[in-house]
Structure formats: C-alpha cells, structure tokens
C-alpha cells in the first residue's frame, strides 16, 4: 500500500523565534485509495498539517511527502494534488464561467467537460458572480475546480464547516459521486465526526499533533464495544480488552473497550496496515468481540455488549488521557 501523505517528526512554528508551535513532532502515514477523514479538536493541527501537505506552508522541522514527493515542489506535483481550502475561497468579482476558464488556463489536465457537467448539475448560472453565490454554492464551485483539474489526491480542509445542513449534505453527495467515479484518494478534515461518517472509509484522529487512532472505519467499529455491567474497576476486566474510556454510576460501570491489537500499534499509522487486522504489540491476534463469548473472557452474564457509534468512539479517543494503555477518563455514556 502506498502512502498519499507521509510525515516524519513534522513540526510547524508560526511567527519566528518566539512563535507558537501549531504542530509538533507529527509522524503519520495516510494510505492511498481511501476517503480519509481527519478528525481532531480545534487546535490539533489539522489545518496546519493539510497546509503543509499542499505546500502552502513549509515545515519548521521534520519532513512531509505527498504522493512520494515534496509538496508543491513543481508544477507537475501541484497538478497531482487538488485542494479545497478552509472557507472555500473564490474570486468574488469573477463569474462562475471565469472560474472555469481560470481552471482551464492554469491546469494542463483540466477536464472541461466534467467541470461544465458539474456546474450544470449544481444549477449554477455561469454568468453569476462568485461573490453572489451562497456559501454552499461557493463550496461547490471550489470543489468543482479541485476535481476538474483531475488530481490523484484531493485534500479538503473543513470545507463544510460553515455550511447549513442541507448544503453540507449536497456537498458530501457531490464529493462522494466524484470520488466514486474517478477513484481518487481523498483526505478531508473536520471536527464533526457525523460529516465524515457519511463518506470516509478510513479515519485518522489527531490530538495535539499526535495520531491517537488510525484505521479503516469498519474495522474500528468492529473492534470497539461498549460493555455495561455491575460496578467494577477497569482493572477487573480481562487484559485482552483495552479500556479506552469508562464511566461509572453508583451501581453500574460502562467501558468502551477495544479488543485486539493495542492502540500503540496504530500509532504511526499504516506501518502495520490498518492496525485492526495486524498482529498487535501484545502479540494478540486481533479479534472482534462478537466472536468471543463473555464466558471465555471471564465475564459473567450480567454484562451486556453493545456496538459503539463512530462519534462516541472518536470522542473517547480525543479525551485528554486516552493516549496508550488503560484509559482513565470518564465518558458520559447515556446508556
């Protein structure tokens, strides 16, 4: 599996010697052929990482390679990467048609037919000034420009953060169709897991510049479960289960557990594949909890097992202590 983005010890400091670090010592690998959701709280370094990946910024420390080359090193490299920047900027005084001409003039691989088809589908008036478009239409125009240049990798930096739910859904719809048609790799950041859940098949959770979790969405969902039972300590659970988060009431305990490989295995991303199917650092073959009986884990039948939603899963990993080993944070689980 080749990587679309590979970083080693990547760091970026803004504003000279006394500046502020926006990203420190970030090492990650994002595999090709996926629609990758990059999630993380505000300030995790998502935008900085993506700006480094598009060459909008130069790293202060470490290295980054995109599709095997230095970002924005040449016109050819720029042609391979499409970028929809945060707030989806467009030239407000230029018409939609002018934007398409702009794309055609500046991109040798420009697919004019595709661009016009998209504009038709979106029902945009080509003569309309981009400044008069709604936020959703502007985002669609920016996406059209990025797709029609026929990149190998499409990077989107919170493209829908400021859109209303309907525009958001339409944007994701177009994005899904486009990626299904062309099979390009996509990396899209968001702090809203729900948005990513609809389209991404691979998830990277970035917290304070560090990868907390990376893997194919299906595998992540299959290896994480909510265990609910009589009140007990996390230490009482079998060692094969890794506790990501826990919450307790007077009589009841709820644990978000991961069965199979340890979290540390997925740190550093795809070196061990998706993590869920590899052999973990603990030497345990990863298994889905579904295939285990409660008995074999030494748990009594008082325990109930439930699937966990992607959002809860991601939020648990975003918590401050969920780095490695046994989680110690309290998760507010309404069940």
């Amino acid at each position: 599996m080749t990587a679309v983005i590979e970083t080693r010890g990547l760091g970026k400091k803004y504003g000279g010697r006394r500046g502020k670090w926006a990203l420190t010592d970030c090492t990650l690998t994002i595999p090709a052929g996926h629609v990758v959701g990059l999630v993380g709280p505000n300030g995790a370094g998502k935008t900085t990482l993506l700006n480094l990946a598009t060459g909008m910024l130069a790293p202060t420390t470490g290295s980054i390679e995109v599709l095997g080359s230095k970002p924005a090193a040449s016109a050819a490299q720029l042609a391979r990467v499409g970028f929809v920047a945060q707030d989806t900027p467009v030239y407000t005084s230029l018409s939609v048609e002018d934007h398409l001409r702009f794309g055609a003039h500046l991109n040798p691989g420009w697919d004019a037919a595709l661009a016009h088809r998209r504009i038709d589908q979106l029902d945009l008036d080509p003569r309309q000034k981009a400044g008069q478009l709604s936020g959703g239409q502007r985002a669609q125009l920016a996406l059209t420009l990025a797709i029609a240049k026929r990149p190998e990798l499409l990077i989107l930096d919170e493209p829908i953060a400021s859109l209303d739910p309907l525009a958001r859904r339409e944007f994701l719809q177009v994005l899904m169709e486009a990626t299904a048609e062309s099979g390009i790799s996509v990396v899209m950041s968001s702090h809203l897991v729900a948005d990513l859940e609809r389209i991404s098949d691979y998830l990277v959770v970035l917290v304070s510049s560090q990868v907390r979790l990376a893997g194919e969405t299906d595998d992540l969902l299959a290896t994480h479960h909510l265990l609910t039972g009589a009140r007990c300590d996390a230490g009482d659970l079998p060692a094969v289960l890794q506790v990501i988060a826990e919450s307790h009431t007077d009589r009841q305990s709820t644990f978000l557990v991961r069965s199979g490989s340890a979290c540390s295995d997925t740190l550093g991303g795809g070196a061990h594949g998706t993590g869920a199917h590899g052999t973990g650092a603990l030497g345990l073959a990863s298994v889905s909890l579904d295939s285990l009986s409660l008995d074999s884990l030494g748990l009594d039948t008082g325990w109930s097992v439930a699937a966990v939603g992607l959002e809860d899963l991601v939020l648990a990993y975003m918590g401050p202590a969920a780095t490695a080993g046994r989680g110690r944070i309290l998760l507010e689980v309404p069940r």
């Binding site: 130069a58 720029l78 920047a85 001409r101």
Partner: protein, 344 residues
C-alpha cells in the same frame, strides 16, 4: 497565468484607458493651436535674440483671451505626478494584498503552476501596464508642452525662468522619468501589500513612502547625479533681492538668470570667497536703495551660481529613470522571493 492576470486586471485597465483617452482628446484638441502660435511668434525659426520671440509667444498665449493653456500646463504636471502614485495605490498595493486578505491566494497557489510563475506573471504584466500608462501620458504631455518648454528655455523679459524643463517641478512630468516613477510606485505597492497583507493600510503606506521618495530624490539625489556646473560673475547691485535680519546680518541674492537651467544654489560671495553676510551699514538700513546699492558695489561682491544647464535634461532623465527602474526591479525580486518562501 497571463490570461488570468489580464482578466483580474480588466476593470482597472478599462478605467485607465478611459482616463488616458480623455487626456489624449484634451491635448489633441488644444495642442495644434499651441504649435501654430509657436510658429507665428517666430520662435520655431529664430537663431538670435530668441528671448524676444519667446516673450512675444508668452504674451500671445495670455492675450489669446484664455487661461486654458496655463491651466493645462499645470494640470499636465499635476497629472504626471498623480498617475504614478495612483498606480502604486490602486494597481500595486492590492495586487497581492487582496489575494492574501480574501484568501484567494490559496486558490491560485493550488493550480498547476508554480508560485514563482504566479508572482512573476502578475508583477510583469501589471508592471509593464503601469509603465506603459505613465509613458503614454508623459509622451502626450511632453509633446503638448514642448512649445512652452522651448519658449521658457530661451528666457526673455516675460519668461518664467523658474519653470524650465529641467526645473525639479517640471522635470518629473516630462520625458521618460514618469515611466520609472510608475514602475517604482507599482513595485512599492506590491511589496508593501505583501508585507502588510491588508489592502487599505497598504495603500496608505504606499502613498506615504512614495511621496517621501518623490520629495527626497529631487532634493537630495538628483542635484548630485551629475556634478553641477559653477559660474561666478560680478554682482550687479541694481537687480537684487535684499533682506536684513535683526542682528544686522544681510542676505543679498542676485538674479539667477540662466534661461533653461536648474539653479541649485545662488550665493553672493566676497572677493575673498566667503558668503557675504553683511553686516548691514546705515546706508542699507536707511530708506534709500541707491545708497545701499552704491555701498554694495563698493564691496566688489560676486555671485556664485551652481546649476544644471538645460543640456543635462536627457542625461539626468536617463539616470533618474534608471535609478527608479533598478529600485523597482529590486522590490519585484523581493516580492517573488518572499512569495516563493511561502510564508503567507
């Protein structure tokens, strides 16, 4: 990138073409009359005593019943000082600043062209347009004002000796110098916009710096580009400016009568070479000018003038234009370098 730069520049280009066309019409309508007056006054074919012809031309112009020529003469000068400043403010400052301010640079820098090409195309195309606009306007105005400039260079009793073509006020509104000013103002605007990253403050700062440079260069740099000529002659104490200060010091200034030249300094010196400062005697403190004049004559004062003769107009034009073009090129290079370093 050429197409896109021109597309972005279209609105400004249309405005400037309209302004240039308006000036062209104005000068084309009034210019021929000026040329025919010039011919009929005899100036175009004079060889000796041209000053008298120049005076006749000047009085013909004002007797023509209209002050339109005088107005246009000064309006042309004002326009040629304004245009480079406006180019710096409205073409230079927003060129990159607006892209940074609105975030559209992220769109431009992610197409399949390098940032160097993006920057060079913008700078070269709009920069050349700036130079062309200023050059065309200067060509029109220099052509229109040529009869007047020529008449002034001949001197004569009615001629306004202060407004020779080489005089600092007129110099910057003739010939090729405006091309250099426009290039510099444009590059200055782009640089300031790139550093400040906000359009409006960049426009204000561009104007302030450009005005400062336009004041400093004629006063500090231009007089020394070519060492001025010096001339010393006996002071005729009949036609002088005289001022006496409280301490009894007196300043005597003879006529800087060098038609067509730029008089840089004009001092009255004693036979031993010192600047004459008085002290004023009773002859000059009284009410009789002739008594004071007789006393001054007895001092054998001399008048020392440093000046750039009219013949230096073109060498100075080339030198100053070159200086501004070099500055503009340096700023342009700085912009490209900075954009390449992707610190935006």
């Amino acid at each position: 990138m050429t197409w896109f730069t021109l597309r972005q520049f279209r609105g400004q280009a249309i405005t400037s073409v309209a302004v240039l066309a308006a000036f062209a019409i104005l000068f084309a309508v009034t210019g021929p009359a000026l040329v025919s007056d010039f011919r009929s006054s005899g100036l175009s074919s004079c060889h000796v005593n041209c000053g008298a012809f120049a005076s006749r031309f000047a009085s013909d112009l004002s007797n023509g019943g209209s002050t339109i020529y005088v107005f246009l003469f000064y309006a042309g000068i004002v326009a040629l000082y304004l245009v480079p400043a406006l180019i710096g403010i409205f073409w230079g400052a927003p060129l990159v600043a607006r892209e940074l301010e609105t975030g559209t640079y992220r769109l431009g820098w992610n197409q399949s062209i390098t940032r160097t090409r993006w920057a060079v195309a913008k700078l070269a195309i709009v920069g050349l347009a700036s130079m062309a606009a200023a050059g065309l306007l200067s060509l029109m105005i220099s052509w229109w004002a040529n009869p007047v400039d020529t008449a002034i260079s001949y001197g004569g009793p009615n001629a306004h000796s202060g407004l020779a073509r080489i005089d600092p006020i007129v110099f910057g509104a003739r010939g090729i110098a405006p091309v250099g000013y426009a290039a510099f103002a444009f590059a200055l605007g782009v640089t300031v916009g790139l550093l400040i990253r906000r359009t409006l403050p960049a426009m204000a700062l561009t104007l302030a710096v450009f005005v400062a440079v336009q004041i400093l260069v004629p006063t500090i740099v231009r007089p020394h580009i070519i060492p001025p000529d010096h001339a010393t002659s006996a002071l005729a104490a009949t036609n002088i400016d005289l001022s006496i200060e409280n301490g009894g010091q007196m300043v005597v200034t003879g006529p800087g009568n060098r038609p067509g030249a730029w008089v840089i300094s004009n001092q009255t010196i004693t036979p031993s070479g010192q600047v004459f400062t008085g002290p004023a005697t009773s002859a000059c403190l009284g009410s009789s000018f002739s008594a004071c004049s007789r006393w001054l004559t007895s001092k054998h004062l001399r008048q020392a003038v440093a000046y750039q003769p009219a013949s230096r107009f073109w060498p100075l034009q080339w030198a100053e234009t070159g200086l501004y073009l070099v500055l503009a090129a340096g700023l342009g290079w700085l912009c490209v370098w900075r954009i390449r370093r992707r610190r935006a």
